[in-house]
């Protein structure tokens, strides 16, 4: 099915979902590691508008934006595990929750991660309210996509990997087992799926990187406000 390359960084939740999708589909691909502090000319050429990872290159043609890439992968390698459901209504529901995650949940969690004090408390509470909504989507289900792992699990997969990294590096509690029993159980099931387990970023390395990144974001915010952190 042609030459496939993935421009990514090992610590990006958006790029991670693409790597999982390709592995689940059994697609052979070449990894192009990006240092986001020093982006390659290739990445800037393939994604001139957003200049971000992930970018999928298929037979020399770039596809950008992770949700667009996921749909492309599902349509193109369509003889193996399907990620999106067949039914149009189920597909619409999947797309809605994927968009909710990317527009609301992830950015809210990021805000809680990069802030401190009163601002962080506010962002944390917003994030918890949004995770309440996510929790309800698992009612009666083992995975977000139903009995087996699918599109929505890959989209929400960052919760399994990154929420504890955010907790560890920014000193807040987000994944409360009592408040979110379904997500807690899902995280166990998700992390045990062989392809997911075999492609899990190193926790200690993530903690180290996310600690550094948090300091960078906090200083940057302070500098732009004209205060010293």
């Amino acid at each position: 099915m042609g030459e496939v390359k993935l421009f990514w960084t090992w610590s990006s939740p958006y790029a991670q979902r693409i790597a999982w999708a390709l592995k689940l589909k059994g697609v052979e691909y070449e990894t192009m590691y990006e240092d986001l502090g020093n982006k390659s000319c290739l990445l800037l050429a393939y994604n001139p508008i957003h200049k971000k990872v992930p970018v999928l290159l298929h037979n020399g043609t770039p596809i950008c934006e992770s949700l667009v890439i996921l749909e492309y992968i599902d349509e193109t390698w369509n003889t193996t595990t399907r990620l999106l459901p067949e039914d149009p209504l189920a597909r619409a529901t999947t797309r809605f929750w994927a968009k909710f995650n990317d527009d609301q949940v992830l950015p809210s969690a990021f805000q809680a991660y990069v802030s401190k004090g009163v601002e962080q408390e506010k962002a944390k509470n917003h994030t918890l309210e949004k995770i309440d909504v996510v929790e309800k989507q698992l009612t009666g289900k083992k995975f977000f996509s139903g009995e087996t792992l699918g599109f929505l699990d890959l989209v929400f997969g960052w919760i399994a990997v990154y929420l504890e990294i955010i907790e560890e590096t920014s000193g807040i509690k987000l994944l409360d087992k009592e408040r979110f029993p379904l997500i807690t159980a899902w995280k166990e099931n998700f992390s045990r799926v062989p392809v997911i387990e075999e492609n899990w970023p190193d926790k200690e390395m993530l903690i180290c990187k996310y600690r550094q990144m948090r300091e960078y974001f906090i200083s940057k915010a302070a500098a732009s406000k004209g205060t010293v952190s």
Partner: protein, 231 residues
Amino acid sequence: MAKHSEIKLIGTPASPFVNRVQFALNLKSINYEDIEENLACKSELLLASNPVYKKVPVLLHADKPPICESQIIIDYLDEMKPDLYQLLPPVSLDRANCRFWATYIDTKFYPLYDELRRTTNKAGKEAIKEQMIESTQLLEEAFIKSSNGKTYFGGDEVRYLDVVLGCFIRWIKYSDELHDFNTFDEVRIPKLAKWAKKVSSHEALKSVTPGTETLANIFGLLNVYRPPYDQ
């Protein structure tokens, strides 16, 4: 629009996102019923149908769960009846291209107009207009590539990106008049300017395009609920 249709659309005439879905329904010759919403006083139906965002449009199809978010609704309409007028192209790479630009239009291009409305200082407004110029230049290039010398993004016929971007034209022109700007400038972006005129006059869009008074009302409402930044 037929009453007691299998398909109902909760919306308001002035919302470009609602117009987008109406445009798509008209192209597909799908009968539907408009359920007009008062955004200043949202109905129980809307709040129950879209509890997450409480926004229009919402598509109600027979007794199925409601579908929210205009791009998701259009995808659903394409997939629900694949033998009807298809908006997305058949080839995966072309579909990815459409989805990419649709996301760009909704998250990077269109929000500039709300920013412009809410920014009151002159320097701020000029900076946003510069971004609009850059953005429309990107859309001009996207149009040239997608249209392949033909009339629309979709070629000879109106397709996905024509619907996704076309629904904003009237709204944009109203904004342009308020802020002394010309988004679809014929010198700066000749191809897109020509496209904007052509798609605006397409019957499937023209029939749902709001008039000036309707737009004035909605802008007034926006100034109350999402006021300018220094108020």
